[in-house]
């Protein structure tokens, strides 16, 4: 990052080789739009290029990168006039999130659940999907997610639990053909 801050294009290329696909995947999973993901990946790397000097090398890189990605996604969403489907809107079309998750054990998920899970991930709200991807794809800890998003740890946990409830319930409904 020090070399990038000095304008070293080779170092920048190395960083892209290491994290380019990673950033693209995260953005694409959150936006479900590869075209937009390409644009935002570009924006993320340009931010890194411009603000590499702001990076504190004593701190781990990935959470910092995650914060840059999150900021870009948040900015993009703010710029969108049309809000993506929310769980509330989908409820009107037949999807109803569980009011509460009584027990996970009654909803043992089978190996062929990926299809249902895929649908379930799609109906999460933007905020929920964001923390799910950060937690279970990026592998960030709750504290790191909170730092990246600028919210409290309890808010991250609340979003995560709600998302997991929704995923579990919706996936199970899909599997049962409900």
């Amino acid at each position: 990052m020090k070399r990038i801050a000095k304008g070293d294009e080779d170092a920048f290329r190395c960083l892209y080789d290491e994290f380019g696909a990673y950033v693209f995947k995260i953005v694409a999973m959150q936006l479900h739009d590869n075209g937009k993901a390409e644009e935002l990946t570009q924006d993320v790397f340009l931010k890194i290029w411009r603000f590499a000097s702001k990076y504190d090398p004593s701190r781990p890189f990935k959470p910092w990168l995650s914060r840059v990605i999150s900021n870009e996604i948040i900015s993009y969403r703010r710029a969108q006039e049309e809000r993506t489907e929310s769980i509330e809107e989908l409820a009107e079309t037949g999807y109803t999130p569980a009011e509460e998750m009584d027990s996970y054990r009654d909803r043992q998920l089978s190996d062929d659940i990926s299809y249902e899970l895929q649908n379930a991930v799609r109906i999460l709200t933007d905020n929920q999907r964001q923390v799910v991807v950060m937690k279970y794809y990026e592998g960030l800890k709750i504290r790191e997610i909170a730092d990246s998003l600028g919210i409290g740890e309890s808010a991250v946990k609340a979003r995560l639990y709600t998302a997991l409830e929704t995923l579990s319930t919706t996936a199970q409904r899909g599997k049962n053909g409900l």
């Binding site: 590869n34 993901a37 290029w49 996970y104 054990r105 043992q108 895929q118 794809y137 800890k141 709750i142």
Partner: protein, 756 residues
């Protein structure tokens, strides 16, 4: 601690962020409370499934290849902007206002050019090219002008005729090819790169500026040479073109349109003897020199042997249909229209539908005109050989040429040509036909490459098919490397070859000199990842070599490995032999024996994004490090699931003194210090080796009453002596009948302990 509180801590527990006291209390509660334990197990299963789902979804998402180029371009422009921003600041306000004013007027005009500067450059380049194109209008002289201009452009660009027609098929016009050739000459850019940008589609101004021709020099660099070309053509006293000769029509080799030739045109040969059009037609492909008078071709073109080295072909097929003067022959290349030349095809009366025949002819761009045919049994019966101008028969020379030396025979020669001019050397003991010349369709011979593609090879003795059974090898430093057919097009012209053929299909092609470079003793530095190898060698500090899908690797311990599996065999620190071409690895192999892996077992005491610590040793984790949860199979764990406190086995190598993990296996809890000392190693389940079989991916061990496992270079093999003394072993130490301790996962042996 109540159940509700416990359930709120599931996430923190799994990510290992609970404080120590809480962590213990959590585990104690789970041990005592069956409900919470079940709840926790279900929660864990759900999160694992989500992780797996997201990883699988991510694996199908990949950024487009050109994304890096876009980022770099933007970054560079922002760098320039940063550099000069202090100068620009006062002007920004004015520029912004102008931009707003101009945007509405000019933006749509820029189109593929992108901006005003490119647009200006484009106008200069295109106006020059249009100016040249304007001389193409007149029917005969225009056609000749165009053929000459395009011919020169093709030469400048170093294109083969096939490549030229490929570009035409892609939608490029002759004008495009002409401009691309001039840009190539002025920028030293690969022609393919220029064409790629044009097809993007970029405007010519944008391409020129992008490749380093500034708007201020685009006129002298690109436009002026094009204008100069026009002047040279118009001022020339004579022009030459290669063309197929039809009835009072010629078709230039690199220009699709036929050019009518006035009937009163009287051709003559190089010696000045008059020729009839019939005689010219017999030559098939002729080089025609037109004397230019007042900007138009004169009435007496000089005819010379044509120069169509890439166009000759020879194949076999069955006659599907015979019409008047034309037969349709079903060949391996598809149906081919074969034209009979009256008086030339001796076998006319003997040819019937369904008969297998040999076809020799010329290919003009996309058009195929086979001129000479003979039955398949021509070699058995010299009497039945067709007498054609190319076959050295009584009428092989133009009657009026007066040239008895054969110097004006049309080239290229047929394989059955007289041997006196045949520079190719037959090396094998293959067949000869009755005239004593080698039968190039069924023998081994040395020749020179003219052109090669995935499906056929053109040499100085003819054209041969390449199929999936053709073994193409390159000889380098005494070693032979197999090449994938897809990379054949990269082999340079005039390369010396040894070709073996059977029925006209090449069975083996050995390349004895190439334009490839080979890099020896490359060491995988510290990383290798999908489709890339990051290497160091003696001269380069560091280099990324792209592993292309066509890469064929072999010699990995004598085992051929498909390219997609190469990464299972390469590990950091390996020294490789890399056949490289333009930063692409065409072939890779171990230059030395791969280093045997070692392993470090114990509890993870520290973890960061780039390393873990086990037994006080720092083990670097790189992008290719594979993580696994024991017993769950390859890739069953993400690295985030392996945390401080976990017991793990790291399979490692040393690179420049640093320990780098190729694999980290998280051991399940409750395995009682698995791998923590020799006493535990002995606890590995023991099996007797029933058989050992070498396979493509390693050695397969079949155990008596046990599993069938694969031993790969990653498998740790240890020999225990006197109960405690340990030394590393190798697959050669494994013998049938031996009892060994085995740790395995997903049909692969992780560790084998031999206790003699």
């Amino acid at each position: 601690m109540d159940c509700k509180k416990i359930r709120e801590e599931f996430i923190e527990y799994l990510e290992g962020s609970l404080p120590k006291g809480r962590h213990e209390a959590f585990e104690k509660h789970l041990a005592d409370c069956r409900e919470c334990k079940k709840e926790f197990e279900s929660f864990k299963t759900l999160t694992e499934k989500i992780t797996k789902h997201l990883e699988s979804q991510a694996s199908s998402l990949n950024p487009p290849a050109m994304l890096w180029g876009k980022i770099l371009k933007e970054a560079q422009s922002s760098k320039k902007h940063r550099k000069f921003s202090f100068l620009l600041k006062p002007a920004i306000g004015i520029a912004a206002c102008l931009a707003i004013l101009l945007a509405g007027v000019f933006t749509p005009v820029f189109g593929a050019e992108g901006n005003l500067i490119n647009y200006i450059s484009s106008n200069i380049i295109n106006s020059a090219a249009n100016d040249l194109e304007s001389i193409y209008q007149d029917e005969q002289s225009g056609g000749i002008y165009k053929a000459v201009a395009i011919d020169k452009a093709i030469q400048d660009a170093g294109l083969t005729d096939e490549q030229y027609w490929d570009l035409r098929d892609k939608g490029l016009t002759d004008k495009d090819i002409l401009i691309a050739a001039y840009i190539k000459n002025n920028t030293n850019t690969e022609f393919d790169n220029i064409v790629g940008l044009r097809l993007a589609p970029w405007g010519w101004g944008r391409i020129a500026n992008h490749l380093g021709v500034s708007v201020f020099s685009v006129d002298p660099a690109i436009a002026f040479p094009i204008i100069e070309r026009k002047r040279m053509i118009l001022d020339a006293s004579e022009l030459e073109i290669n063309a197929e000769v039809l009835d009072h029509t010629i078709v230039p080799m690199n220009f699709g349109g036929p050019i009518p030739v006035p009937e009163d045109t009287s051709p003559m040969d190089e010696s000045g003897n008059p020729m009839s059009w019939e005689e010219v037609k017999m030559m098939g492909c002729a080089r025609m020199r037109f004397e230019m008078k007042h900007g138009a071709p004169g009435p007496r073109p000089i005819i010379m042997p044509g120069h169509c080295p890439n166009e000759y072909f020879e194949t076999t097929g069955n006659i599907a249909d015979i019409g008047e003067g034309i037969a349709t022959v079903q060949t391996p290349q598809g149906p081919m229209q074969v034209r009979f030349i009256e008086g030339e095809t001796a076998m006319m009366g003997e040819i019937g539908e369904g008969m297998p025949i040999r076809v020799k002819g010329l290919r003009f761009g996309p058009r195929v005109i086979a001129r000479f045919v003979a039955p398949m049994d021509e070699n058995k019966n010299g009497q039945s050989q067709p007498k054609s101008p190319k076959d050295g028969g009584s009428n092989t020379q133009a009657p009026s040429s007066g040239n008895k030396t054969g110097e004006n025979k049309p080239t290229p020669k047929s394989p059955a040509n007289s041997g006196t001019k045949d520079t190719s050397k037959k090396t094998g003991t293959g067949n000869k036909n009755q005239s004593g010349t080698p039968d190039y369709l069924n023998s081994t011979f040395e020749t020179t490459l003219k052109n090669i593609s995935e499906t056929k090879i053109t040499t100085d003795v003819g054209q041969f098919l390449i199929n999936q059974n053709t073994l193409v090898t390159v000889k380098f430093d005494g070693n032979e490397f197999a090449l994938h057919p897809k990379i054949l097009s990269r082999i340079a012209k005039n390369t010396k070859l040894t070709v073996s053929t059977k029925n006209g299909v090449s069975t083996a092609i050995l390349i004895t000199n190439t334009g490839f470079s080979i890099k020896k003793l490359w060491m995988i530095k510290d990383d290798f990842r999908n489709m890339r190898l990051l290497c160091v060698d003696e001269t380069l500090a560091e280099k990324i070599v792209q592993l292309i899908p066509e890469t064929l690797a072999s010699d990995f311990d004598g085992i051929q490995i498909p390219s997609q599996e190469i990464f299972q065999e390469i590990r950091p620190g390996n020294t490789l032999l890399v056949l490289e071409y333009k930063n692409q690895a065409l072939h890779i192999a171990h230059a030395d024996k791969p280093q045997p892996p070692e392993e470090i077992r114990g509890e993870i005491s520290e973890k960061t994004g780039s390393f873990i610590v086990i037994n006080g040793k720092q083990i670097n984790i790189i992008s290719s490090t594979e993580c696994e949860c024991a017993g769950k199979g390859k890739g069953s764990c993400s690295r985030n699931e392996i945390n401080v406190g976990d017991k793990a086995v790291a399979i490692v190598f040393k690179i420049n003194g640093k320990i780098v993990a190729t694999k980290v296996v998280k051991m399940p809890k409750g395995m009682g210090g698995m791998g923590m000392g020799q006493g535990d190693i002995k606890k590995l389940p023991k099996f007797q080796i029933e058989s050992l079989t070498r396979t493509q991916n390693g050695i397969q061990i079949t155990f008596k009453d046990g599993p069938v496992l694969l031993v790969t270079p990653k498998t740790a093999i240890k020999i225990i002596k006197n109960g405690t003394e340990e030394r590393p072993g190798s697959p050669e130490d494994l013998k049938t009948g031996m009892m060994v301790g085995v740790e395995f996962s997903n049909r692969q042996a992780i560790q084998i302990i031999i206790e003699p």
